[in-house]
Symmetry: C2
Subunit: 334 residues, 2 copies
């Protein structure tokens, strides 16, 4: 039987192809090694952190886990659920559900440690998320060592990790930098009062997380370095103050996009699709197209919070209006 | 300044784009957190192992490192070096050098542990390779626990890890399964005598590694399961007895290709290219095209020894005669 005749799901159906060599067995056929005890399958995935350098700046992508949920009917507001399922299938993932990973990034610039976004915190009973602290520990980092937390925007999966389950600060020695425009929007009582009921919880969450931070919290402006080589720039639409970071050292550069897109297989492939989380869908689409037009033209490495770990890749055009993520090749040595 | 005006390598050139939100700062601007000691950059990459399930069979991809070398003039025998450099550039990697990763795979089928291929062994002074044992340890595996080593073919990067630097067996309790056709070719004294001088070392290496294995070594035939759900099939050309494995459990299936191709960005993109390591280039190309025609039609997950870690992906057509690897999305939970 050859591979060309094989049924994809039938056992034993793959046999010789590209053959033509006589199978002359030689040597003894009986193995006398001892029978070992059965080994149960492992129940834990490998720790998920990954280091990458941009000139003198070291990045460590530290995964916080991934959530799998039934595909919401309106996950993409402006296309049918069937179209979303078709795009998932084309990306070789199950079509009836959705897996969204979360990837905070630790920066070491000039000996200062800054974590960009904080993940979902410690409250997940299912164990799908809340991996940030164990993965930081696997990378040899104590939360007390952090000098700074940089927040890109105020959605829960980016800010919840600032607090432990008991409300104490996860990174007790870190100052917290938040985009000034994002701060202005969410802390405005008028915006909260006029928000639809479904959004009031988000306003309350922001106030709970940032409460009593006092001097630790500083709103930051665009185009002013947060650390040497770490420059924020506005990528609004997803939220009113959504911010990305340009990381540059020497001649090396990386764009940390945060949530310019969610899952690449859906929204790089289809930058015109409006994910349910985009607060201003039109503006988010404009931002997305300009971001990826530029990133693909410059062939610059992009880090995405919701890209599959290690969440780094190059963006290239696929036809006139679509894009594709080419994940970075894992480098086992620094 | 907007992203559209920015120079790709100029610092501070990325500023507001997609803007339109007033930057109203609020809250205190002075951070009074303590100054922490400078943290030096980490000098070690994360451990590289990754677990994946195929039905009831658990796979753990265990990286042995990667070698980076100047791009050989004849790395691809039938195209110019400039064409190879162009393909590397199109894959966003440096064009003057070549990085080749090595990914043995541990299988747990029915409580039996089998390692497929063994990597480069412990003799690398530069530390680029020889990561298999530390990565196995990180995955909680003691080499004594292995029941079986399955070899796909007899090139050094697949068999050297069978022995420690002192010549002792790395996996003292494992039986060693080798393809009967591969064994017949390399152990044949006539083949060794008529081999070109450049290949005599490879024959000597095979004899040194497999010497005195006695009852531990068993040549295996195609289409006979090595473990439940683990079926070898011939994919010759790269070497005379080169073998791949079909892994199947329930309705899930994976093809462990070994060296049907080397680096995907070169040889999936260009299946007609002949890597310098293919012993029968025409046969290797035929095997490659048939393997990927089938793998892409079936949308089956493929593991490649020289794919970037975690070395798993789907193969899809890109035009009539070329292919593309779509790496699997990292799953942080089992």
């Amino acid at each position: 039987m050859t591979i060309d005749q094989a049924q994809p799901t039938r056992r034993g159906a793959l046999a010789t192809f590209g053959a033509g060599v006589a199978l002359a067995a030689a040597g003894p056929s009986l193995a006398l090694t001892p029978a070992l005890a059965a080994v149960p399958p492992a129940t834990k995935q490998a720790p998920a952190f990954y280091r990458n350098k941009v000139g003198d700046i070291q990045l460590t992508i530290v995964n916080d886990g991934a959530r799998t949920m039934p595909l919401p009917d309106t996950f993409v507001r402006n296309v049918t659920k069937a179209e979303v399922e078709s795009a998932l299938g084309a990306a070789y993932v199950p079509t009836g559900k959705l897996t969204v990973p979360y990837n905070p990034i630790l920066l070491n610039s000039g000996g200062k440690l800054a974590l960009v976004d904080t993940g979902n915190g410690q409250g997940d009973a299912k164990g799908e998320v809340g991996h940030l602290l164990p993965n930081l520990a696997a990378a040899g980092i104590d939360p007390k060592q952090l000098d700074m937390v940089i927040i890109t925007h105020f959605h829960g999966d980016h800010i919840l990790g600032l607090r432990m389950a008991d409300g104490s600060l996860t990174f007790p020695n870190a100052e917290v930098k938040v985009p000034a425009a994002e701060w202005a929007f969410w802390m405005n009582d008028e915006n909260m009062a006029k928000a639809p009921d479904a959004m009031k919880g988000a306003f309350a969450l922001v106030r709970r997380i940032f409460k009593d931070l006092g001097d630790r919290l500083t709103p930051y402006e665009m185009d002013k370095d947060l650390l040497p080589g770490v420059t924020p720039f506005a990528t609004v639409g997803h939220t009113p103050g959504h911010t990305s970071l340009a990381i540059q050292s020497g001649n090396e550069r990386l764009l940390l996009q945060a949530d310019v897109t969610n899952i690449p297989a859906l929204f790089l492939r289809n930058p015109g699709w409006h994910v349910m989380f985009d607060m201003d869908a039109q503006k988010a689409e404009e931002t997305r197209r300009r971001f990826y037009d530029r990133a693909s033209a410059d062939k610059v490495l992009v880090a995405g919070f919701h890209f599959p770990f290690p969440a780094l890749g190059h963006v290239e055009k696929d036809g006139a209006n679509n894009f594709r993520l080419v994940p970075v090749a894992w480098n086992p040595v620094l």
